[in-house]
Amino acid sequence: MPTLKNTTQEVLTLAEQHFKLAPGSLSPGDDFFKKLGIDSLQTLELLSRLENHFNIELPDYELQGVSDFKTLAERIQSRL
């Protein structure tokens, strides 16, 4: 099983690809609403991409109150 550190890095890389950002431009503590300037609908689209990559299902409620990549990666890690 990948470590949380690896998972976090993969989440960041996928988010960078999804939102067409330069590699390395996101960090774990970034608030994705603020940093990416996205709305809740766009966040749900990112979730679908993450699910496909990790081959897991993330219910919408797992995102309640989550706004940074680190916490998001933790939620994913717990389902790997």
């Binding site: 603020k34 300037g37 996205i38 609908l41 749900l44 979730l47 219910p59 919408d60 409620y61």
Partner: protein
Amino acid sequence: MLDLAKYSSIGAALQDAVEKFASETCLIEADREREKDRLTYSEFKRRALPLARAMQDAGFSPADRASIVMTNQSKWLISAYAIFYSGGVLVPLDYKLTPAEHWQLLQHSGAKVLITEYPIWRQLSASPARDAITLQTIVVTDAPPNADLSGAQRWEEFHSNAKPAFVSRERKDVASIVYSSGTGGRPKGCMMTHENYLEQCVALTTLYPFWPGVRYLSILPTNHAIDFMVGFFGPFTCGASVVHLRTLRPEFVREAFTKYKITYVSLVPLVLKNLQKGLLVRFEELPAGKRKIFNALVTINKALTKSRPRLWLSRRLLKQVHAAFGGELQAIIVGGAFTEPQTLQFFYDLGIPVANGYGLTEAGTAITVNDLKPFRADTVGKPLPGMEVKIIDPASDGVGEVYVRSKTVMSGYLNDPELTAETIVDGWLRTGDLGQFDAQGHLHLSGRKKNMIVTEEGKNIYPEDIESAFESLPVKEFCVFAANYVWPQRSMLGEQLVLAIHLENQQTFTEELKKEITQRNNRLLNYKRIHGIVLFNEDFPRTASLKIKRNDLATLLAKLDRDHAILAL
């Protein structure tokens, strides 16, 4: 449909509905592509009554208050039925609030019972704000087998098979306490009576009827007045079906339209606009030849539906567009915020009527609705049957504050007689919104009462009026303010409008953008033009229904130094 004039309460009407439509499909619940549950009205009753009895056994008495904090799902409606059956008062709360806000409202409402979902309860129970409140009963759905319930009871175990007592209520009794958006320091708990709902339901279903076989897709949160009415009470009184999705991922929402052949859906403007964007991209991708044919068909459709919708014709002319929506969509109900006319027109031109209206929680969902006779994108429609609407203190242009009197108007704000007295004057609800009627009796809204300017020529200008000039501006979001509303001045002079802009991530304020704003601004009549731009680099605060919280945004902007913040155009 049930004859609602005969009923004195929501509970009594629902009780008859589940008998009358016993074999009709009542609820469908799906999670992604999987259908999880499908209930007839009779099965719905069999799930709700044991909950009602368990609540009663736990000490829930008539007029006691019970709160539901849940995402849209079958158990939301089952719980509401049990509460009304027991003569209780429903307190529906927005599940997206923070735990501290939830506890604040639970305390304010005096709720004895809380019915919620485990992921929400996990956060609520860990909140320090919990200590101040004692709830009699907490019931939690969706809890994993070994979850720490922290004093709550599991939904699956909270039932009793003995027959519960049905408790009747009077029309004037409070049926629910609905907190209107804006969880500021002063909670506004609108006390809605049984009569409010019964009357509103009759008025709305006259214009937009439900019948057995109708499938309503419930996306807006059910605590919201619109979904409560058109995604619960309305369809139930007519034997229609409600479809719930446990995920709101756009791909699964799209799939639900075709899979369940949706008849009605309610959306907020942001989502409607998003749908429009998606469709536009797909139209752009059509090969040139096909696009030409498509555009010609849209033109024909526009001509043929000018006086009224002709759904059967539109569905044949623009088959693929309608197929993407399931092919049986009657109308998209849009509400919760002001919708840009061009978005409304876009859908209508494709043969998809958009029921645009105007309402507020205090008035019992809707005050005016577009009756589609003919469709008008530029207004919020005519008053619903039973609504008296008047314009108070109209200015020289005819615009004044909108007052409403109707059996659907709330009885007041909970524990706030002062605010109630300010809001309901001699039986008339002061909406705080400004508008005027046109010759056809359609209401045009022009903004909020206080956020406005009066020009030196004596013209009243409303920011919301100006915003359409900046539609589709390439920025993340924008909002027009009266500068003196943001930074109050002790003077009536020097009033001007400013455009507050939140740029996209990594976007910079370029000369090109400034030029575009100037060009659009110059298309406005000179007295309507904005005088400056305020750059703001945070998300605009929005309500649960994604309406910009103008007051809150103004408060945030007010922290900026006015002279430095306003970049002159």
